[in-house]
Symmetry: C2
Subunit: 236 residues, 2 copies
């Protein structure tokens, strides 16, 4: 496979190294032609042929163009990007945002709270992407904002669902035990906090999600802590 | 009132000048201390006290800070911004995006299509904001992404509703006649196209929305035209 272009469509990190998946695949295959496909692409809708758009990111623009050519079609638009770091961080961390917004839903919060959480979460992920050497504009792209919007407003997302259960007062262990599916946002929240520490970036939403999941903090207290932060500026 | 700080919370343009509302108010009051408040702030939720965040933008940072101090509270977070142009353009154009995503909903499209439309619409509004002298980062902020997410996923937005009716095949005139409320996205789509021409910016989503509303193009054809555009790159 050495030299053969490869594209993956997975989300997450290798633990405990926190390596991104193109890094892991590239090392295993001794290849620098590893791309990532991401974006708001619920499989059942792609199968139905309703319009979908995704981004394929690779450090090699020619490899990205190869996959764009293979995957682009009448109902599936594919954009290229050179920002592998930004796309993979967004993909891996969007389920943390889904947990946070789900928790707000479970607490009975409304559209305002959900929109604010999504917006401010993407701002902090943008800071992380920039510190990690990526392009913060990817956060406003299909793998960031696009996938976050689709996930946080979907009744089908198990991460949003798990957050909603937390908001209604169920314990983390009980939620995890009640489903055979992996709730990816749980390890992702830990990874986010570790990445924030590595790069010296403040990630208030990810930190509060992790505090609820792994440190026994009550959901209402975590959200109150976010609301109680000092008033600040949007474009520092 | 001359010199007195003023904040407005309206959306739109003066027609046919296409002036922004802080410009109009500033001229009328001979004041440079005019701020704009915007963001995902459905009134019924603010009244209920569920968490809400908004942005107050003013060319004077001290005036912005005055309104932040007056409005910020336990359940209403206020961020400041110096980017009046970006905040006002986002506020005025978000209802065009609401019409577009509503039309997709009416055509039976799914979460993928809605997320893609939101993402790509914000990209084009970012181009317009930049060309008009604003900060494109505002598009990823509360007045842009935040308000768009709240509007495009809300059952209460009349612009999203009007778009949905269009998607189901109802005529524009019939939709307008069926409600006493103003559907702000209709004049906003015309204003967007005029601004795109003024600044030489390509606004494919706004142009297609306007073509449906004002040029008799069928909704399905307009969306097919968007899907049929050449495959491109996300971060040009």
């Amino acid at each position: 496979l050495q030299g053969t272009p490869v594209v993956h469509a997975s989300k997450g990190f290798e633990l405990p190294s926190l390596s991104r998946l193109t890094e892991v695949i590239g090392q295993e295959l001794s290849s620098s032609s590893v791309a990532v496909l991401s974006g708001p692409t619920h499989a059942e809708e792609v199968g139905r042929g309703t319009p979908t758009a995704a981004v394929v990111a690779c450090s090699s623009s020619s490899v990205a163009a190869v996959f764009q050519g293979l995957l682009h079609g009448p109902t599936f638009r594919v954009y290229t990007s050179g920002d592998v770091i930004g796309v993979e961080l967004c993909a891996a961390l969007k389920n943390v945002i889904a947990l946070a917004t789900g928790a707000g839903d479970g607490l009975g919060y409304g559209d305002n709270a959900r929109a604010a959480l999504i917006t401010r979460s993407l701002v902090e992920i943008g800071r992380l992407v920039q510190a990690a050497g990526g392009d913060p504009r990817s956060v406003a792209g299909l793998a960031g904002l696009g996938d976050v919007v689709a996930t946080c407003t979907s009744r089908h997302s198990r991460n949003r669902w798990a957050g909603e259960q937390l908001g209604r007062g169920r314990a983390v262990a009980e939620i995890v035990a009640s489903t055979p599916k992996v709730i990816e946002g749980i390890p992702a929240a830990q990874a986010a906090v570790a990445l924030g520490a590595r790069y010296g970036v403040d990630l208030p939403v990810c930190e509060q999600v992790n505090a609820v999941l792994n440190e026994g903090v009550a959901v209402a207290d975590a959200l109150a802590s976010l609301m109680g932060r000092e008033a600040t500026t949007e474009l520092p």
